[in-house]
Symmetry: C2
């Protein structure tokens, strides 16, 4: 799948580039270069093989937007590839500099520019948990965040993420309305500034940082309820899934996370396994405190046993339950078993339960281990599955994906690093491609990730 | 449909009852008796014929719960029918004393007992707009309200309503979680107090005041966003419906109301008709101010023309747009044309658009005039239609309902006053019936509305 891009790696004069940066801070020590040229691509044995060892020649750390403009101009003049980096929590090598050049660490652009009620404008480099820490003071929080909230930056999430904790209410990040504005700097000799609003703001989504440098975002906020972390144990996985599905469909119960997991997943949860009865399936959920009584009624109606109920705690050392879900499940499993990898699936909203029963019957229980995160997809509740896979060979991995697909379940292959191979893009989406032509005419913005892009100059 | 109940009207000694009330306030003048024995049943020509002239012998106006207990005990001892009344904004004669007796006006039980964040406990008699007026100070508001918010009481809405403005997000009132607690007084010689929590609180829903006297409710609240009233004009009704449907499915855009209306409905909107282009269909919506830009993008994508955009204003003399929707549409049409009545339909969530196209093709456009309020039903967005009907005969009215039903659209006949004939009850729901046995063993609580109930004593 990961055929190389047709664009040859550009030649460039790094020294001349570095000299033209003036006092923009840079980092050059080998350890930092290595560390900041990586993300969580090693969740995939395929990507691990293919992306390991790709290292930037220089890390540039702009202090503000003026620095970003300076870097963008210098990169354009010297044709230096620029790979933009937030928290580095992605899983597809989005911030791996596959053609070398420099990595742009956006961490310092982290100011909250303003907050007006449920509207926020924030620097792209701000960590998501540091956004909520501020906005919660006024009663608001981000609508959704990945399980890596405590590491991930808002810019990285917008550019490379798809949804997360909160998507059971608001749908995916790319749903209209979930990003309301973006400020993007083009990579040109004289960089231009783009202020995108309304549906145009969605152009920056899931472009993997190939479409210019996002410096600020406008995000709509959600009410910051007091969330309760809950674990409910069930006798078997399908009972857990049925409960989760009904909970997802119950609009009167306010929730942020609904994750059914099959045994033996809880056995991977080191330090938390005592909250999961041995051999049982479970649902992990986040429920608004004012919805906890009806939630308990629903759990009782499904014969679930509540084994954990505690206010969500994101303080240092604490373990919010969302850090057991989404792709943290894979991380925790990998800590115990190095042969584990995962898949990304999206089930059809209609006939969801029947489809889950069908798919789970197709694989040995120790080869494909299921969990779902409920989400809304185009307005309809459904399950986004991130099953753990006991990896044997690339062939078997591809075969498993083909079996899913042939049974009508959408698979976004997480073992690729080409944008076009991801999330159903055949060639890069027209809007994305058109926007890339605007902001990256030279093809130096995260080059090598968009196979079908031909630079204008 | 409105076959009389099998229970014969009880005989009672009103004077003895009145004497035992002590200083509980009562009203006896003919005008008040008439006024407080009515609701909006006259929207239906059938109910108008059948319920007109049913008048209570006494209006009792308890000042507090102690008064309610006194009334309940006296009524039980003297076998006096008690019909409970809030704002009297229902449409099925729920608060018409069909077997005489007394009407209990709950208006004075209107205190907010407490508010803790998104939780509220409030007296059943409080008007809904006076709830929001208080809770909005802390950033919260009721999740949903009928179009009669400025007249309706919360107790009446809970007992007799089904949903309303806000249901596009939270679903119907009876969805688990939308009422979290209720306090109910039984009608017995020694009245008992029931504190219902969790799913048990739903027992009081849609029982039409036949299941004891609700004195207080616990309601979960929603964030009180700044709402914007919007009108978008479209070339034809199906285009308006398609836009409304997509808006309902767009979880990233926060909204409280989505109502597509066909021409000539706007012609009935006296004083507001200038905001609707002549001959055009339209969508009336309430959008959170922080979602207005993506809303505008969506409207533009559907070639809608925004003809009105203004902060929702509920102050005296102002006209919030929700007062053009739900059953206010019928009210405004009746002001212009006395031959108008209406139906209540619920479309299937799957194949919704095709079904609307099918149904609208079955009737002359001047006999059945369509509007929808989008709602969530069991977690899925769909349209609740309240079409205006140009009434000719009962036979034709029934025929229209049968045509809807034979095409797979659910009809809740609004031309009945028997609970069992309403909203799909064949016999009264088991839970409701069991609860009624607890709180009304003598069958004196709004008697004559539950045909299948046989008193215990």
């Amino acid at each position: 799948m990961n055929a190389p891009a047709k664009v040859p790696p550009p030649a460039y004069d790094l020294e001349a580039f570095a000299a033209s940066l003036g006092d923009v801070p840079v980092e050059t020590d080998a350890k930092t270069l290595q560390k900041k040229s990586r993300d969580f691509f090693w969740f995939s044995p395929v990507l691990k093989r293919e992306l390991q060892g790709k290292v930037a020649e220089l890390i540039v750390v702009p202090r503000d937007e003026a620095d970003v403009v300076r870097v963008a101009s210098a990169a354009a003049r010297h044709r230096v590839p620029v790979t933009i980096r937030g928290g580095g929590t992605g899983n597809y090598g989005q911030c791996v500099p596959v053609q070398g050049g420099v990595v742009l660490d956006m961490g310092a652009l982290s100011a909250i520019e303003w907050q007006k009620g449920a509207r926020l404008r924030v620097g792209a480099g701000r960590k998501m948990h540091l956004i909520d820490a501020e906005t919660r003071k006024q009663g608001y929080e981000l609508r959704m965040h990945p399980s890596t909230k405590r590491m991930a930056s808002i810019g990285g999430f917008a550019a490379g993420g798809s949804g997360g904790v909160g998507s059971v209410t608001y749908g995916g990040l790319r749903e209209l309305g979930n990003i309301t504005g973006a400020r993007v700097i083009s990579l040109e000799e004289t960089p231009r500034v783009f202020e995108l609003k309304g549906d145009a703001a969605l152009k920056i989504c899931h472009g993997w940082g190939t479409t210019g440098i996002i410096t600020a975002l406008e995000m709509p906020l959600a009410p910051a309820f007091d969330w309760i972390d809950v674990i409910v144990a069930f006798k078997d996985f399908m009972t857990a899934v049925r409960f989760g599905h009904e909970l997802a469909l119950t609009d009167g119960v306010v929730k942020k996370l609904v994750t059914p997991i099959d045994w033996p997943i809880p056995a991977y949860f080191q330090g938390m396994e005592q909250h999961f009865p041995k051999g049982s399936a479970a649902v992990i959920a986040m429920i608004a405190d004012h919805s906890i009584e009806p939630f308990r009624s629903l759990a009782a109606a499904h014969k679930g046993e509540i084994t954990y109920e505690k206010a969500t705690d994101e303080s240092m050392g604490a373990r919010p339950l969302y850090e057991l879900t989404w792709n943290h499940t894979t991380l925790l499993a990998l800590n115990v078993d190095r042969d584990i990898t995962y898949l990304q699936s999206l089930y059809p909203p209609f006939g969801f339960l029947e489809k889950v029963a069908e798919i789970t019957s197709l694989f040995p229980r120790d080869e494909v281990i299921h969990h779902f995160e409920f989400t809304r997809y185009a307005g309809l509740p459904t399950g986004s599955g991130l099953p753990l896979i006991k990896y044997t060979t690339d062939e078997r991995l591809n075969e498993i994906m083909e079996i899913y697909r042939s049974h009508g379940v959408f698979i976004a292959d997480p073992h690729i690093w080409m944008l076009e191979d991801s999330a159903g893009y055949k060639s890069a989406d027209a809007d994305l491609m058109g926007f890339k032509r605007e902001v990256d005419p030279l093809g130096i913005c995260n080059p090598g990730k968009m196979r079908t892009y031909v630079p204008l100059r």
